[in-house]
């Protein structure tokens, strides 16, 4: 069941990242993703960065040909959608640490909004290569989260990887849970840091996706399929998967080291 809709809004979030908003009625939860079809081009997995109501959104960072193509999409253009697919974040934590790198903030923001709305406190460790690339810095601030940033080039906040910020926060404050999304090597480090403090981690993982319905095995992740068993996995699951942070598979199913 595929739906083809016209994009109604395009928001430039960072120099390399754009949010598209579109009418899409199916109910969705924070953590879930859609398959976004760019007619004439590829169909790629995208987390829903806006899950509420009928006007959903995705926030896309330019990585390769198709995601760059997404950045050229304007209001009025057709896109294809199917989903939402996958599981969701558990929204129970009262004191939540979010560690986001790259486009990872896209999948984390809707859940953070829910936690704050439910009376929880959220601290966000937000990393990017440079200050203008810090995704949803303002959105997190506006929802009432505390944002601590890190940039590789020291143009804002902590100079270096966001895991540095996460490490400090975990040392300074008590958290019920850590949510993380970003490069897998980063997530692996976050898992180790949180494990050391005994804080449960939930990581949103990415694997090559084709069917998105647990059929084709493209997204195999140890014994799991990211599309149906994930994309959100718990600390225990992540630790049990030898692939985590070590290798993913390319479109042919070959193992590729990170």
């Amino acid at each position: 069941m595929r739906t083809v809709v016209r994009v109604v809004e395009r928001i430039e979030e960072t120099p390399s990242t754009v949010t598209l908003r579109f009418p899409y009625a199916p109910a969705a939860e924070p953590g879930q993703f859609v398959m976004l079809w760019i007619p004439g081009d590829d169909e790629i997995p995208m987390s829903l960065s806006y899950v509420e109501g009928d006007r959903k959104g995705v926030t896309v960072k330019a990585m390769g040909a198709t995601s760059r193509h997404v950045l050229t999409i304007a209001p009025g253009d057709w896109i294809g959608l199917r989903g939402p697919y996958g599981n969701r974040f558990d929204l129970a934590p009262r004191r939540l640490l979010i560690v986001a790198g790259g486009s990872g903030a896209a999948v984390l923001a809707p859940g953070a909004e829910r936690v704050v709305a439910g009376g929880g406190s959220v601290v966000v460790a937000l990393g990017a290569t440079r200050a203008p690339e810090l995704l949803f810095r303002q959105r997190f601030a506006e929802m009432g989260a505390r944002v601590e940033v890190a940039t590789d080039d020291a143009s804002a906040g902590f100079a270096g990887y966001v895991t540095g910020v996460a490490e400090r926060l975990l040392a300074e404050e008590p958290f019920d849970a850590v949510w993380t999304c970003g490069p897998e090597v980063m997530m692996r480090k976050v898992l180790a840091l949180a494990d050391a403090r005994g804080v449960p981690t939930f990581g949103s993982t990415e694997r090559h996706m084709k069917c998105a319905i647990g059929m084709c095995d493209a997204c195999a992740f140890g014994p799991f399929h990211v599309c149906t068993d994930g994309p959100v996995f718990s600390s225990g699951q992540l630790r049990s998967v030898p692939d985590f942070g070590v290798f993913h598979r390319d479109a042919a199913g070959r193992r590729v080291r990170f």
Binding site: E43, C211, A218, G222, A252, R254
Partner: protein, 305 residues
């Protein structure tokens, strides 16, 4: 409790349900998972001589509960990278059937040898993918082609060879007979049915490749017709596949002539739990009907005619 175990071409199966090729078969862990969940055996993704990315997305389109359209384009890591996946699958104890595809009889033979060397219990030859140029039905769509490919493979391996037949033909039994003549130990039917979807808003086919193959409940009647017709004309055992999602579907196939079964779409839809459910449903149905051993039901519907 009815006996669900069957023997297929010398391979003992604890129940008739095999994981169909192309569902979960890219990684060893997924194959092992299917076996642990109750599959009697698992068929690998069709593996080729070289890695293949397959077609770009969209590669699938769902019709809700009754069917699924796909044109994956035979993505696979290639035989060089595949041994470690088979190793993981075998470590679970699963009987693994290695599926291969190739563009010529000679290439089939070479690939089959390499796959056989990995310790699989049987081979399945994909002569029936309906949408990948230069493979599948394009090389195995006529009886002489089927016979030549099967013979080449049979001559080069010592394990049973199963020829997977296309439903996109006027005469499925003729293809099965050709496989039999070539020395196949069994035939499996069916692969997906050639199909297409168009998006009217975008004025284009939905799948990037255009043509694809239909699977799921809607193709059960088509698969049953193929198995039925093949049973009337060939002696080697038949593996039924296409749209099996209940124990009753399974028994329909068996009574039409299938000795073992493959399950694809239903496993993707429901997850690995489908295997346990299918076995329970089939067992309960056999008990209800007073059939002591599944094997006794093979082809019985032909007697009524």
């Amino acid at each position: 409790m009815a006996e669900l175990g069957v023997e297929l071409a010398g391979v003992r199966l604890r129940n008739p349900f095999l994981l169909a090729s192309g569902i979960w078969g890219e990684s060893g862990a997924s194959l092992a998972g299917a076996y642990r969940a109750g599959a009697a055996g698992v068929i690998t993704k069709s593996i080729g001589a070289a890695p293949r990315e397959g077609f770009p997305n969209p590669t699938i389109e769902s019709y809700g509960s009754w069917g699924m359209l796909n044109a994956m384009g035979l993505p696979n890591p290639g035989i060089d990278d595949y041994p470690k996946e088979v190793e993981i699958a075998l470590a679970s104890g699963a009987p693994v059937i290695g599926s291969v595809f190739a563009g010529s009889a000679e290439e089939f033979g070479r690939l089959a040898e390499r796959m056989a060397a990995l310790g699989v219990v049987a081979l399945e030859l994909n002569l029936s993918c309906p949408h990948a140029e230069g493979f599948g039905t394009e090389v195995g769509g006529t009886p002489p082609e089927v016979e030549r490919i099967v013979r080449e493979v049979v001559d080069r391996v010592r394990i049973p060879v199963i020829a997977k037949i296309t439903p996109n033909t006027t005469d499925a039994p003729a293809l099965a007979l050709a496989a039999e003549r070539g020395g196949a130990a069994a035939v499996s039917a069916i692969n997906t049915v050639r199909a297409l979807a168009v998006d009217v808003r975008l004025r284009r086919p939905v799948l990037a490749h255009g043509l694809g193959g239909l699977s799921g409940p809607a193709v059960k009647p088509v698969g049953l017709a193929c198995v039925w017709q093949i049973f009337e004309r060939v002696r080697i055992p038949i593996v039924g596949v296409g749209g099996i999602s209940t124990g009753e579907d399974a028994l329909e196939y068996v009574m039409a002539g299938a000795r073992a079964l493959e399950v694809g779409t239903a496993v993707a839809v429901e997850g690995a739990g489908a295997f346990g459910r299918l076995a329970r449903e089939l067992s309960a149905l056999l008990d209800e009907l007073g059939i002591a051993r599944l094997a006794d039901a093979v082809g019985v519907a032909h007697a009524a005619r």
